[in-house]
Structure formats: structure tokens, C-alpha cells
Symmetry: C2
Subunit: 303 residues, 2 copies
């Protein structure tokens, strides 16, 4: 079974399920949908929930886009694919909660294929999810990574988790700040071994996201928070913007290739601040974060 | 006269004069200075004024940095310079006023040279200033561009103004939004004809900045403003962040080459917001801005 439409149907269903669960967790706001089409081929459905009880903004997009000639930049590692027609579909989300004690999160699953004369000549899967806490709690980080580790079980177990956890740490890294975006999770790209197994893994990552995130939402959404904590959250959201606009390949490729700017940039936080020369006071709650912004073996260290 | 130290002395003096004038215009806050050194050579003095009566944040940096081997990326257009030692100095500023009726502004002047065996083998000047209004007023745009035009008079007059005004429009352009960052001004790079004349032009641009900006500050700093106008300013500041992090070569080169992140990113606004799918209401004050975000012959159209 090697069917683009089967992947596509999984992805639209995943978007529906996540929206349903997030509306339930929020309890107040609903997702609003924008359908859009791309002049070069394909389109998508962008859904945004705003000003909720829990989520300041939750954006989740499905897209299914295609083109007649793969650009050289997209086929640099596979020169044999240059000029092939292509089609790609994916679901991508970024959730920005109000409460600084509830981490920001991102997840993405995607499928790509290249075709000549209607025949698939290459395909791959990619995806992952990662967590960006402001006031990290070991219990949450441990739950997040245990969920990631568990979903890898049928797909190589510890070796798969280790590899894709490391890839996540390396990808979500702000070189100019010498820190990771958060506590990581899983990240993979260009996975093309056995189609059924790789598709199943992509589904496990997509399905696993809610298992990883919802319990943290339930635990932290009502934690009391101060103005100082809110200000620290807005400050740290600046690093999220820096990562997405300076480093994130999906964002930059999307903007450069004429993608729908509003859908791409719905990953950016609703409110952000920068403060020149800010450094948390030694011993403060804010100073705890730094220890979580470099790669660590969470499962061994926190268990 | 072809002396790096003379340029450097002009630049430190320019920084002093601008700080003095901005403190005077603000009337409340003072610049705080950070001196820093770069392990690879050189350093700078970063000055930031915050929470003023007029300026939410005003950042102005002087730097004088050097290296032993010009990286290939910096000498792509001049392969004969690859591996030369180099030294560069400049002043760069971004001012973010509180009042949405007072535009954000940026200015930069810089000098670069490459050396072999202690002898200068190449040099050039660059610089410019540009204005980013939220509620543009023709009177201000006209004054801004008249000042730019006037300072060009001894350096080619209209032809110089036209060329560097166009370069500014092209440089400060957000492709993914299909709009300029603001109403432009002057921008030039790689100017290397007659040293004395080019240095004099760089000084005219540096000195002209206050002539261009201060009258606008005086006129607009006390304009009453509403919460709605403030929110629109924060929203439009998002575009400033998008430009600086996605397109600005100075920012990206600085971050990639291990520059001092806090000094580079002091260009970012203290507070910003993004709003998915925002579009100003037809006929609103906010809807007026769009007409100012594409290249126009301001001097002919507004005079």
C-alpha cells in the first residue's frame, strides 16, 4: 500500500482530532477555519483558535501542495530528482498557552513524493514534536519524553528514540544564543525505508502528540501566575520568534517559495517582548530554565 | 587622507552627538553604555535608552572589529580579497518611540577595509537611514526625503538621491508581504570612488540623520493616541521583526559570524504582537498605511 490519498486522509483526520481535543481542553474558544488555494497547485485548511480560556493562540494547518518541477534547492541531495513533479502534504501546529506554567508546543507530520510521468520515483516522511517550557517541571519533561520513547517501541525502540531525540536537539538549536528552543522531543526527516512501517511511525508521532501534551495542559492550565511570570514568558517567546525566523527551514522555505505568509507565520506568538541585556537573577525561578536548554538524557536523569 | 582612525573618530563622535540629541528630545531617560570586546579582534560600545518619555527603546551601537582572514562569503564578488585581513567600523541605530504617531527609524554608517601585509588593498563605505511610520503624514515623509535629497547635493545631487533612494526601497522590502518596511530614505553599500568624497558623503548621511528625524520627533511626540493605535503599532512592529530576522544582511551575518547577539538584536522592538489574518478595516486610519508601503516618488507626489 503506497497511496498518497491514504496519507492525506490520515492527516485531515488528525487535524480534526487535535482540534476537537484542544477545543475540549480549552473549554471556551473554537477554531476558525480558512480554506486557501495555491496558484501553483494545491491548497490547505488553516485553523486558528484565539483568546481561549487556556490558549492565547492555537494554530494548526493542513496543506496538500504540488508543483510541476522540483526546485534545485529541494533536490540538492538527490540530483536525480531535479525537475520532477512533486506533491507534499502535512499537518503543522504551534500552540501558545496563556499560562507561563504551561509550555508552548509544536508538532508536525509530513509526507513528500516526487513523480515522473505519473509514477512515484521517490517518497519520504518527516515529522516530530517538541516542547518549550518557561518554568520547566521535571514531571512534565519526563512525561513528554516517556511518551516519545513509548511510541518508538515498534519502530526500533530505544535506538529510534535516541536518534530522533538527538535530531530534535540539533534541529531546534539557536546558535547565536547557544541554547536549544526547549526540552526537545522527536524530529525526523527524509525517512524512506519501508513505506508501511514509515507511514505507521509517522502516524504514531501524529497520534502521540496529544498523549504527550494533553496531560500537561490538564496539570498546568490553572496554575496561578504572576505578572512577573507573564513578562518572562513574553520575553522567552522572543527566542521562539528568533528560532522560527532565523533558523526554521520550513518557515524560510515557505516564505521564499511564495507560500501563504499568514499560514506560515501563525506559528509566531500573539504577544512578545525583547529586553536588551536581560539575565535572570541568580537563584530566581527564571534562572532555572537555562539548565533545560541544552541536550540532556531526560529519561535517565529525571526518572 | 585615507586614515581608518579618522573615520573611527568621526563615528564615535557621531554616536556621542546622536545620544546627546536623543536624550535632549526624550527629556527623561539616559543612555546606558555597555563596552564589549570580540575574541577575534576589536569591540564596541552599545548604548541603550529605555522607558523614556518619548522613546520606548533607543539603541545605538558603535563597533570597530577586525579579523585575520576575510571569509569567502564576504569576498564573493572580489575573489582577489579572499583571505585578506580586514577591519570594519560603523554606527548603527534603531529607535522605537512609544507614540504610534512618531515613526520608528533606523540609520547606519559604516566603513570597511581589507589589508595585506599592513597595506590597504580595498576599502568602501556604506550607510543610509530609513523611516517606518505607522500613521504616515505627508508632511513628515516630505521632510524626511527633502533632508535626504538636500544632503546629496554636493555628491551628485538628484542622481545620487535617486539611486540611493531606490536602493533603499529595494533593500528594505519584505518579499513575503509584498511591501516595503516603510517610506524608505537612503541606502548605499560598497561605495569606493574617491576616498575623501565618499567619506564626506558618509558623514553627510550620518550628520543628516538628526536633521531628518528630530523635527518629526518634536512634531509628533505629544500627539494623543488611543489603545487601538497602540495595538496597531505593536502589530506593525511584527513586520519590523520579520524584516530584520528574515532579510537584513547585517543582522544575519552578525548572528552567523558569532557577533554579540544582544547588540545585534537591540534593533528588535521591546513589545510586539502578531495577529493571524489581520487586515485594517476599509476606510480606517490603519488602512491608510498600505499606500505608503511601495516605492513612490515622494518629492514629486507630495510637494
Amino acid at each position: 500500500m503506497n497511496d498518497f490519498d491514504t496519507v492525506r486522509d490520515y492527516l485531515t483526520g488528525l487535524q480534526d482530532r487535535i482540534c476537537h481535543a484542544i477545543e475540549g481542553a480549552d473549554g471556551r474558544a473554537r477554531f476558525v477555519e480558512d480554506l486557501w488555494q495555491r496558484p501553483e497547485g494545491g491548497g490547505g485548511r488553516t485553523r486558528v483558535l484565539r483568546d481561549g480560556a487556556v490558549f492565547e493562540q492555537a494554530g494548526i494547518g493542513f496543506s496538500d501542495v504540488s508543483g510541476t518541477a522540483l526546485p534545485p534547492s529541494a533536490s540538492a541531495n538527490r540530483p536525480e530528482l531535479a525537475g520532477a513533479s512533486w506533491r507534499a502534504c502535512g499537518v503543522s501546529l504551534v500552540f501558545h498557552p496563556h499560562n507561563p506554567h504551561l509550555p508552548t508546543t509544536h508538532a508536525n507530520v509530513r509526507h513528500f513524493r516526487a513523480m515522473r510521468d505519473g509514477e512515484t520515483v521517490a517518497w519520504w516522511f518527516g515529522g516530530g514534536f517538541d516542547l518549550t517550557p518557561f518554568y520547566p517541571l521535571d514531571e512534565d519533561v519526563l512525561h513528554w519524553h516517556r511518551t516519545a520513547r513509548a511510541l518508538c517501541e515498534p519502530f526500533g525502540g530505544q535506538a529510534r528514540y535516541d536518534a530522533h531525540k538527538q535530531w530534535c536537539d540539533e534541529y531546534f538549536f539557536l546558535k547565536h544564543r547557544n541554547e536549544t528552543r526547549g526540552v526537545g522531543g522527536l524530529f525526523f526527516d527524509d525517512l524512506h525505508g519501508d513505506f508501511d512501517a514509515d507511514f505507521a511511525y509517522m502516524r504514531a508521532v501524529g497520534d502521540g502528540f496529544l498523549d504527550a501534551y494533553l496531560p500537561i495542559v490538564e496539570r498546568r492550565k490553572d496554575t496561578p501566575c504572576s505578572e512577573r511570570e507573564r513578562e518572562f514568558q513574553l520575553y522567552r517567546r522572543g527566542r521562539y520568534v528568533e528560532f522560527n525566523l532565523v533558523y526554521d527551514r520550513g518557515t524560510l522555505f515557505g516564505l521564499q517559495s511564495g507560500g501563504r505568509a499568514e499560514s506560515i507565520l501563525m506559528s509566531l506568538p500573539p504577544r512578545v517582548r525583547w529586553e536588551y541585556g536581560f539575565a535572570p537573577e541568580a537563584g530566581s525561578e527564571e534562572s532555572r530554565l537555562a539548565a533545560y536548554l541544552h541536550p540532556r538524557d531526560w529519561l535517565a536523569e529525571l526518572a
